[in-house]
């Protein structure tokens, strides 16, 4: 009887020894603090570019930048928050996930001491703080880059069609009329996807504090006139054959730009960098940037940094976040390496803003984007925005493809969104 535990013990020991050796080794090897930053491409390039300057200023804190693909990163962070293990010290988040993560309660409230993030509020583009604030008023993250919404258009194509920039941007009716002229004269599509038009048009008339899909009390707003109007506009564009039916980020979409079959695209200013680097490098100099049609101001995307409640090195994490977001030099450096637009207002005053952009035919577009950024209304995000977006997208498809009545479609969307957001 006595030999049994003995041999079991030996076995346990044999199993544990190599395990503990691997666990303990790294801890003993270093005295410096290692700050883990979980991020995703292309945002990771901003952090990597900041490493030399960081090391100079914080020689005792070593940065460990862990980068996963966009979707994998956010899934991994969800899992880490769920289990409370494997959490990084600093977590990068895309705007799309901010609502969900802010409500989760797994992130530090950066408004509270010792962070006191609200003191920095005036230094950032105003709508970013609203996006990063949860419904309970917690500041879940700090903004690092923003995506002022712009209409990118092909100057050569609209010139050929005898259309001016003012024709494109005056109002939606004029935008669609211009699209018909472009189609007739050049054969090019006005835009990639009628859904793009719907998505931005449904933000018409939004004011500070109003949500896109939900009001402050959580009531679903999708049967309001702005949604009806947005659906009508999208349907009109589709019926007139003005869109290439190419969903963003698909092969068809990219090919549409490469082959000059798409005349305009509404997107965050950062799309310029994507067009230049891989979507359509050969069309350099032919693009221009303008305000969104119909006097609308909106933003596309944006990146944030947050600290999980279970992070190991919170003071250092806060140092890092401030270094990335509230430091003018880092922000400008990110602009240089990434073409992302800084969230820090101080960076907007730099001479770098006056630099002509060769891809946009020498246009000083950053000045325009700066103006747009200042005018974008501060719209709160809801954790159910993603659900609502999905449902609206599906109902819109039914309207344009199956001829479903818009009022019915929006009523159906409303009941489904109410259902999904039940808790």
């Amino acid at each position: 009887m006595e030999t049994a535990p003995m041999s079991m013990k030996l076995v346990t020991l044999a199993l544990l020894v190599p395990l503990s050796a691997t666990l303990l080794a790294p801890a003993q090897a270093q005295q410096k603090t290692t700050l883990t930053v979980a991020t995703f491409p292309d945002l990771d390039r901003a952090a990597k570019a900041a490493v030399p300057a960081w090391n100079k200023q914080y020689p005792n804190v070593e940065l460990k930048i862990v980068s996963l693909q966009y979707a994998d990163h956010h899934t991994a962070m969800t899992t880490a928050l769920a289990t409370g293990s494997g959490l990084p010290d600093v977590m990068a988040l895309d705007l799309r996930f901010i609502g969900k993560f802010a409500e989760s309660g797994g992130l530090e409230d950066l408004a509270k001491p010792p962070f006191n993030g609200l003191a920095l509020r005036e230094q950032f583009v105003r709508y970013t703080y609203t996006q990063a604030t949860s419904s309970t008023g917690a500041l879940a993250a700090m903004p690092t880059d923003i995506g002022p919404g712009t209409l990118l258009y092909r100057k050569d194509i609209i010139d050929k069609a005898g259309v001016t920039e003012a024709d494109l941007t005056r109002d939606w009716a004029s935008y669609i009329a211009a699209g018909k002229k472009i189609k007739a004269a050049t054969g090019a599509y006005l835009l990639a996807d009628a859904a793009d038009l719907r998505d931005i048009a449904l933000r018409a008339g939004l004011k500070d504090g109003e949500g896109i899909y939900f009001d402050a009390k959580g009531q679903v707003l999708v049967d309001s006139p702005r949604f009806v109007r947005a659906f009508e506009l999208g349907r009109e564009a589709r019926q007139a054959g003005l869109d290439a039916k190419a969903t963003s980020w698909t092969n068809e979409w990219a090919a549409g730009f490469k082959q000059s079959r798409i005349a305009t695209q509404m997107m965050g200013a950062w799309l310029t960098g994507h067009l230049k680097n891989w979507l359509a490098p050969d069309t350099a100099g032919k693009w221009r940037s303008a305000n969104l049609p119909g006097g609308l101001y909106g933003s596309y995307g944006g990146s944030f940094y947050a600290i999980p409640k279970k992070a190991a090195h919170k003071p250092e994490a806060w140092d890092f976040i401030r270094f990335m977001t509230a430091n003018k030099d880092t922000q400008l450096n990110s602009l240089r390496v990434l073409d992302t637009f800084p969230a820090l207002i101080a960076a907007h005053q730099d001479p770098l803003m006056d630099e002509p952009i060769a891809f946009l035919g020498g246009q000083k577009a950053r000045l325009l984007w700066r103006d747009i950024a200042a005018k974008v209304p501060a719209i709160p995000v809801s954790k159910y925005d993603a659900v609502a977006t999905d449902i609206i997208r599906d109902e819109f498809e039914k309207v344009v493809a199956e001829g479903k009545d818009i009022k019915t479609a929006l009523a159906d969307a409303k009941s489904l969104i109410t259902r999904r957001a039940r808790r």
Binding site: M1, E2, T3, A4, S7, M8, L10, V11, T75, M77, T78, T79, L81, A82, T83, G84, K100, F101, E103, S104, G105, G106, A195, K245, T247, S248, W249, T250, N251, E252, A255, K383, A386, V387, D390, R393, D394, F396, E397, V400, A401, E402, L416, R419, R420, R422, R423
Partner: protein, 313 residues
């Protein structure tokens, strides 16, 4: 009574099989049990384990009354039939033909049919999305060429078809890819069953004057029944869990993606896009019940003589 002291030798066998049981426990049994537990809770994973809230069967009721769940079930059954039935209707005669007529080239032919089955589904989906592309796809290019052929040309569509962007085409396109992928697998299954049928039976039948069709109808088919049961069961289970092909072929950001939303995709969307893991777990168990029911039905259909008649050897 004194027990014999345990020696390391007695423990060793358990140790050697332990890895399987440990892995099964951690990655098999635990998730299974946890998903039942989870399906009775409301849980947003980003909020941590502490945020789990008991809701009983509400998630099941919620799923059962959800219009998207109904739609996804319809889509799943549609795929199961439209991509599953032809697999067997074609694989059976094909296997019969290969078995009877091909001698030296047999392995090469079977290998060619089997290749899609062992290819990564992601690679397959990517290749097909290139083939099926509206403006740059080979399939539309071929169709466009065919319009120039007299007579046949009038049957061809005048405009290029948006295979993966228009609800009328997405389902058939995805079903075809699934069919193409699993045809070879079924051919191999049927072929292996055909090869064990005693040749004497066919010789005797030939002597009795039975033609090829009669031999197929009265010897081959009845003896293949057990394998048919097995193959149809596998197809049923596989098709009802269909996820990869529709998920990759029709981007979830596209408006039409709902036209190919299978129950597995709906479950994925509930969990990873809506953050509702409780309902997603409930949906997975509802799907399990559907699969179990249909498999049972299938066994009633085919299974009665399973085992008994295989003695023909």
């Amino acid at each position: 009574m004194k027990m014999r002291p345990l020696k390391a030798r007695d423990v060793a066998p358990y140790l050697f099989i332990a890895p399987f049981f440990v892995l099964f426990l951690v990655f098999g049994l635990f998730p299974l049990g946890f998903s039942i537990w989870l399906s009775l809770h409301q849980w947003d994973p980003a909020a941590g384990l502490a945020a789990m809230r008991w809701v009983g069967f509400e998630n099941y009721w919620y799923a059962l009354t959800d219009p998207w769940f109904h739609k996804s079930l319809y889509n799943t059954l549609w795929f199961a039939i439209v991509s599953g039935l032809p697999q067997h209707l074609l694989a059976l005669p094909l296997a019969y033909f290969i078995n009877r007529r091909l001698k030296r080239t047999r392995n090469a032919v079977v290998g060619a049919y089997f290749l899609p089955y062992i290819t990564s589904s992601v690679a397959i989906a990517l290749i097909f999305s290139t083939l099926l592309s509206k403006d740059y796809g080979v399939i539309n290019a071929v169709l466009a060429e065919l319009t120039r052929v007299p007579l046949l040309g009038t049957l061809m569509p005048a405009e290029s078809i948006d295979w993966l962007g228009q609800a009328a085409y997405t389902k058939p396109a995805v079903a075809f890819v699934v069919f193409w992928r699993f045809l070879g697998w079924n051919v191999v299954l049927y072929l292996s069953a055909l090869q064990v049928i005693d040749k004497d039976l066919f010789e005797a039948a030939t002597l009795d004057g039975a033609g090829e069709w009669q031999q197929f109808r009265y010897i081959t088919l009845p003896l293949l029944k057990p394998m048919m049961f097995f193959a149809v069961t596998l197809t049923l289970i596989g098709n009802l869990q269909l996820f990869e092909e529709p998920f990759i072929l029709v981007d979830i950001e596209k408006g039409v993606s709902q036209s190919v939303m299978t129950t597995a995709i709906f479950m994925y969307r509930l969990a990873f896009s809506d953050g509702d893991f409780g309902t997603a777990s409930a949906v997975s168990w509802l799907l399990f019940i559907v699969i179990a029911l249909l498999t049972w039905l299938n066994s009633r259909l085919f299974g009665r003589q399973v085992g008994g008649e295989h003695a023909a050897r």
